[in-house]
Amino acid sequence: MMRFMLLFSRQGKLRLQKWYTATAERDKKKMVRELMQVVLARKPKMSSFLEWRDLKIVYKRYASLYFCCAVEEQDNELITLEVIHRFVELLDKYFGSVCELDIIFNFEKAYFILDEFLIGGEIQDTSKKSVLKAIEQADLLQEVHTHTHHREKK
């Protein structure tokens, strides 16, 4: 089970944090600080996995953003790496060539997409189509309900 997922920039700015177990705010801040330091210090050719406290950390960098997951001892590192990749693909598909700014200005959407993909730290669906359909249905619903402008999707 995934314990948490963090997105942060090369400059160490936290862009998204999702915690799948109850954690006190103070501990969260401490863990984020500590882990960012560890991960940002690593060089490009190093492995994407490391042991940290009692957890396995799996991370990957996409452009300026680091995607970093903490999973448990018995979890599979490689498949976690692909969980990250699939999440990136989902963001990409939804925003159209996603960049860090999309996630900053639409942070709530990023959370919604993540919730459609993972629940309680486990995968809900791996099909890109199913996940995006859920999100798009939601967007459609809001079009019906609200009168604000809705940008066309590609």
Binding site: M1, I79, Y94, F105, A138, D139, Q142
Partner: protein, 924 residues
Amino acid sequence: MPAVSKGDGMRGLAVFISDIRNCKSKEAEIKRINKELANIRSKFKGDKALDGYSKKKYVCKLLFIFLLGHDIDFGHMEAVNLLSSNKYTEKQIGYLFISVLVNSNSELIRLINNAIKNDLSSRNPTFMCLALHCIANVGSREMAEAFAGEIPRILVAGDTMDSVKQSAALCLLRLYKASPDLVLMGEWTSRVVHLLNDQHMGVVTAAISLITCLSSKNPDEFKTCVSLAVSRLSRIVSSASTDLQDYTYYFVPAPWLSCKLLRLLQCYPPPEDGAVKGRLVECLETILNKAQEPPKSKKVQHSNAKNAILFEAISLIIHYDSEPNLLVRACNQLGQFLQHRETNLRYLALESMCTLASSEFSHEAVKTHIETVINALKTERDVSVRQRAADLLYAMCDRSNAKQIVAEMLSYLETADYSIREEMVLKVAILAEKYAVDYSWYVDTILNLIRIAGDYVSEEVWYRVIQIVINRDDVQGYAAKTVFEALQAPACHENMVKVGGYILGEFGNLIAGDPRSSPLVQFNLLHSKFHLCSVPTRALLLSAYIKFINLFPETKATIQEVLRSDSQIRNSDVELQQRAVEYLKLSSIASTDVLATVLEEMPPFPERESSILAKLKKKKGPGAVSVELEDGKERGDYLSHSNGSSTPSPSADLLGLRSTAPASGATPSAGSLLVDVFSEAGPSATSAGVNDDGFLRFVCKNNGVLFENQLLQIGIKSEYRQNLGRMYLFYGNKTSVQFVSFNTTVSCPGELQSHILQLEPLVEGGAQVQQVINIECLTDFIDAPLLNIKFRYGGALQNISLKLPVTINKFFQPTEMAAADFFQRWKQLSQPQQEAQKIFKASHGMDTEVLKAKLLGLGTALLENVDPNPENYVCAGVIQTKAQQVGCLLRLEPNAQAQMYRLTLRSSKDTVSQRVCDLLAEQF
């Protein structure tokens, strides 16, 4: 403002985010935020009712501020209001806020739960999913209480949409993990298992996480999942790369689901049904074969997904540990990865091989890769990979390669990263001791360790070398010579001075014959380091000096002069001053005899588990100590290697328990057996039969009153160490008349041996006599020893038979371990016969402290923070018998509501699991 806003843009929010991004300093940011907070507060408090859109916008701003790391203390109510909006986006933002920011404000929880309840019953799948996500995100006990009954119904209802089923399955999983006592098994559980057959791959993917968790906790109830999982896996593995459409990921069919299926199977032993097993072995072979095929794509995603399945399959093969052919193939595959150009694969191969090394089938195959692993330790550029290589070397070490591995680890230590040095030092120290064939090698290794990485050599390590040198007289001369040589180095580590001081003080005489290491040379060498050392080391050296005075009278004058100098006798440190004064006085007034007695060579240390091992266990949960915890065998090896063979002194016998058993007084047990058969058939006089109740009261305690009638009271006090026990029996004559022909015998089952000290045949009225019984446990046992007491009281023969409360758990030695270790070990003991389980009603109160006391009394270590559910108790211990050591894990799950317990025991020996389970089940 950048035009990146998506969906319904909240213009105000985007402006605010832009503002924050434009802030030049932290102060400016805080100022801007405070302004915004004031604005939002006034809007929320204002007279004008806010429309849904504004409310949503402000709540979203608060959320953004919170995620930036600032505290938010208002807005919760507005967020809760949004939940009951019928506009989707408003509801969605409300739920998001609650998910991120909810606290256990009970008033609010009630409102939130109300809103969730409405959405769950709305039959609108999108609303239902939102509500389920929220429950899963918060996962609090209050929510479990409110919804744990409802969600299983949604999950298995025939008309539930697939997307809702998926959310419901994972939501239920979250609740089960957080509050397992609230999620009650029922009719739904069997239907959940059949979701493995669902047509919708997404449903299977979500459901399998739930099923895996439930299975690992209740394997019996879910065991039908094994054949379902195998057939699902088989269908996926044999499908073409495009069959599964959207569930094919970079030409790999359903990698996530495949991994999950393989993981689920690891909750169980190999399938018993031959057909199922055959099909599974076929799948595993196919997966191994596919690894050799050329890749269908050059993308890393393709190889990652494919290899993820491969590693999970290898985990399953290791878990089964029963198919030598597959184990060796797995090992070869990992061997290929050891040299792969992808760092990730090298890392994982090293990690996975670590577990393979502990299987008897593949241990040898793993060893063939030793050169590659040593090379990895030397050349890998990534410290986390080097760490894995060191772990693997440690795991593959045995008698045949210990010298090579220890040498490599030592040379690696010279350049090792600071972060892993201490752990490396511990590992080297453990391997050196565990596989020491000749102890001079051991001494060399530890002294090298101190020379190379003295700063990282903890006290445990140098204490241990001294213990071993003192306990083994064949190595003492060599040790003295070697430390003497090591101390010649101009700069040597303070730990070396400590070891040197201690060893020369004890055994310097063994090398004093050589003029190059004459007593005075030895002393001068030690004393040349004195001024560079810290206070504790100086104190140790002073003790070495006084020992020198005893060993070598010719050094007395020189040493007395040193002790008398102002820098010693007037030292500002009180400990040093006191030692100097006392030693000086002792050396001048005591006679040679007295001096020789006071300063006699140290007696051998009692053997116990190496404190180094304990330290490594504490320091590092997973991996590091798995070798030791692997099996009683391995551990036994380590603990006992110097137990007997080396120490001729009688007091070296563990605790000295055995030495007190007199050769003469031993009761011939064959004879007493007859008596017992007789007495059980029909006790002759007024006596009581066998004391089952009294017996059970002593399972978790060692002292108390065992038996009482109008004539006699018997109290016991007992102590246990390793596989030995000593029991004191106190017979109190409650009458004013003497008992005559008072005679006791003990008959033991064959698994125990006992020695009893005979008593005088007369017990005066009102007197109490004490009797000692020594017990040795040869192997595990069920039947307790019987104590038979016969005496005459006023002419009538009294005959009493009592079960002595010697139970298998008395020979527990507690084992501390981290959660990861515990669960790994637990998993390894997953054969059905290794487990014993009882579900029973509480017959006493369920008070936590009382439960804990009982579990501690059982003799195991009570492990904190291991079980995810704080209500449960888990314990670990090793039962020490002469023949073997049996590792034992225990889990007690109280259900306060039902006043029931479930008790599960797992151990490497079926009779032990069952016996401990039976005994303990009577205690609550």
